[in-house]
Amino acid sequence: MTTDTAQQAQHGLTEHSHGAGAPDHGGSAFDTVASFDVDAHVVPRGREEEWRFTPMARLRGLHDDAPLDGHDYEVSVDADPQVVVETVEATDARRGSSGYVPNDRPSARAWAEADKVLAITVPADVVAEKPTIVRLQGLSAEKAAAGHVVITAERFSQSVVVLEHEGSAAFADNVEIVTHDGARLIVVSLQDWADDSVHLSHHHISVGRDAVVKHAVVSFGGDLVRTSVTLDYAAPGGDAELLGLYFADSGQHLEKRLFVDHNQPHCRSNVLYKGALQGRKAHTVWIGNVLIRPAAEGISTYELNRNLVLTDGARADSVPNLEIETGEIEGAGHASATGRFDDEQLFYLMARGIPADEARRLVVRGFFTELINKIGVPEIAERLTATVERELAIGEGLPAASATPPTATVEH
């Protein structure tokens, strides 16, 4: 078994990393209730392990009893001609086909209340030529709504699916992603909500035999956006890359939770989430849980979270968690690094005549470029770069983070 730890050449980063063989975490991070029954999930109050970072008062009752029967949104679809996109009844057999069982109350509520399912199916052997883009435009955040999406990539298909979220909404949803044998699928979920939106989203990915899945969560706008991604393998040989990009401004809460369940042998997972924060009370949370079960021999996994704190008053929490129940693995490691803007980089660029603002833009753009390239969907790369620029422009007036380390916690 090999262990790899973080390779960080950055300056000014407080770093946390260790590989396999870490002390036991007690398993508490993995003890969650899974049930379709809403009442099996008690109303969270904010003290619970899974909710301790979330500002409960801003959830608009999505976690409690707020009705989820609103329909103040529009959905538009731009699909590859070979990909089938349909709206089907909640009784459709595809629903539940990922094996997902809701693991918190808002997810169970969304499951119970969603009256329709958006089913996206890539038929067997189809190689889609263009991304299938589904855009959800929220019209009002007054009445909360529930959603359900099932993406099925059949045997040996190849495709890209982009789920875009914009406008105003209070939204709880479940997204099931099912890949069959040998399928190659890229899913990008983009949250670029208006300032008043709240979004609680669960994605569950089932990775088929020898399937290759790339999944990316990109969060820019919204008052509170909390995404939970769970992933397991239906058979050996699967390969999963989980990517995330988030940029929090003043007052925003962006929370990214991950649980990779290595339940099959000879699979691979690679997690990379990168975030930037600016402005007072900008808050990001990253929780990366990876469990390697006794059956998961010969797997390799690596997870990395990096946060760039651009101004004072922002807070990035980052908690990687790796639990290993078999010694017969190829490699496992995780790392988390949260740092302020790097003065040495800034100095170097400015010493070549580049003004401070432009130098900052270059560095932050550079920070995200790696990730945007990894997402590997040219059709949205430009838009993501432009949105990063827009975010940077918002922060231009703000003073840069001071020399003291940002308020960041790294624990495990």
Binding site: A9, Q10, H11, D343, E344, Q345, F347, Y348, L349, M350, A351, R352, G353, I354, P355, A356, E358, A359, L362, V363, R365, G366, F367, F368, T369, E370
Partner: protein, 252 residues
Amino acid sequence: MSTLEIRGLHVSVETEAGPKEILRGVDLTVRSGQTHAIMGPNGSGKSTLAYSLAGHPKYTVTSGEVLLDGEDVLAMTVDERARAGLFLAMQYPVEVPGVSVSNFLRTAKTAVDGGAPKLRTWVKDVKEAMDKLAIADDFAERDLNTGFSGGEKKRHEILQLELLNPKFAVLDETDSGLDIDALRVVSDGVNRFSASGDKGVLLITHYTRILRYIKPDFVHVFVAGRVAEEGGPELAEKLEEKGYVDYVGTPA
């Protein structure tokens, strides 16, 4: 014809025990057309001088002045100094992941010239400059200094020197860590720069080795934060033989 004047420069750094004075009154005038070598033992403050000229935030100028053609350099921001015609080749160039060399070079050139270079000639200029410094083509698409070897970083500093074409170049131990071939390539680059017009060079080095390739007009021995002795090229020969023992008491 330009002049860079350093007068009575005192610089300190912040330490846990309070400010610590590193430069204790540096006087030095470099005119275009001249090459000055600054030689000194480790820790004598050579990099401090270089960084202070460039405006690194870590260093605080407590007294003295720096004038570029009469303009107050110390009142300028880091980027303004570069645009005014000062260039610092750093002893330890900084890695900037995600920013490609080509993007960086174009952005810097645009900044110092006050306008974007003509695309076609620029691409050609970059390629030629890279060839002369034996920098492989694929460097243009690599991340700035990221994963570059020590020698590659130094050659890349000289590439910038040639492309940005400042009035004065401060070269902080550009020779250290180079093998003999790389040293020759880098020295040729500096000599091309000097020959390209009225250029001033402040060549900071610990060793006399590079002075076989770059001929200084003046040599300043730098000890404990100030110039301890100055003279012509013959001073370098003396240092070659005896080291810094006369100045610091121990061979350095």
